[in-house]
Symmetry: C2
Subunit: 131 residues, 2 copies
Amino acid sequence: MSPDRLNAVFAALADPTRRAILERLAEGMTTVTQLAAPHDMSLPAISKHLGVLERSGLIERGREAQWRPCRLKAAPLKEAVDWIGQYRRHWEESFDRLDEYLQELQAKKPVRKGASREKSRKLSGPGTAVR
Amino acid sequence: MSPDRLNAVFAALADPTRRAILERLAEGMTTVTQLAAPHDMSLPAISKHLGVLERSGLIERGREAQWRPCRLKAAPLKEAVDWIGQYRRHWEESFDRLDEYLQELQAKKPVRKGASREKSRKLSGPGTAVR
DNA sequence: TTTGTGTTTAACCATCTGGTTAAATACAAA
DNA sequence: TTTGTATTTAACCAGATGGTTAAACACAAA
């Protein structure tokens, strides 16, 4: 719910290395060195990625001797998916065409600021999406 | 599916102004000025945000006289939600505890590199999540 | 043609990001 | 205590990001 949390989660997911780390952690917790192995990148770089993931709440780091085992914490993903979920109807079925209908119907509301004497045609092109 | 596309979509969603713009567009297409109105920010700043959203495929910009009406294109959100969806079981139910079980079961695999003579105890603490 | 409105582009700036190498830290093992 | 392994921290760097103001562009209307 918190916007900051959403910022952090989406930002964390925006990097392919971090997404790969999460995918690895979905198989089970493991160490930093193991997480780093598939990536052509220095350990400090991986450590920074883990810091980002941890601050976003997507992982937890433990302590076992000199190892810092990482564990996936998926709860914030639920928040993210819930936020995106509000758009589900927009990508399902023939919503795009329905949308055009709805747009046209509500076109009576003057969406534009200084629009008093304008033509009431579609916003762009004949019949389909805006190009 | 394309990782670049996912990068762009998640990065676009990581900004609260852009998420607010998408929420406004979910009600129907509108102009840049209308989109900018709720935000304490210059028009060029909004224009940049719209550029980010357009490059991520989340909006389309049309052309009607001097207006550039924006329309939500939700398809990329499906990709994002599908990617996150692979973790659904991780945040649902009592997966966390189940997870610990699975971890322990697969602990026979030597997860650690130079681990030949180590104790086979849990990675952290007695019984619960890593702190 | 001039004027006014909507929007983008250009140039600039501060901060964040994602990487590097070198050094420090934490601990186990010898 | 020394040595070796795992990891983080520090310092640095290039490029991206998110904002600004001023100027340019696109078009409608007078």
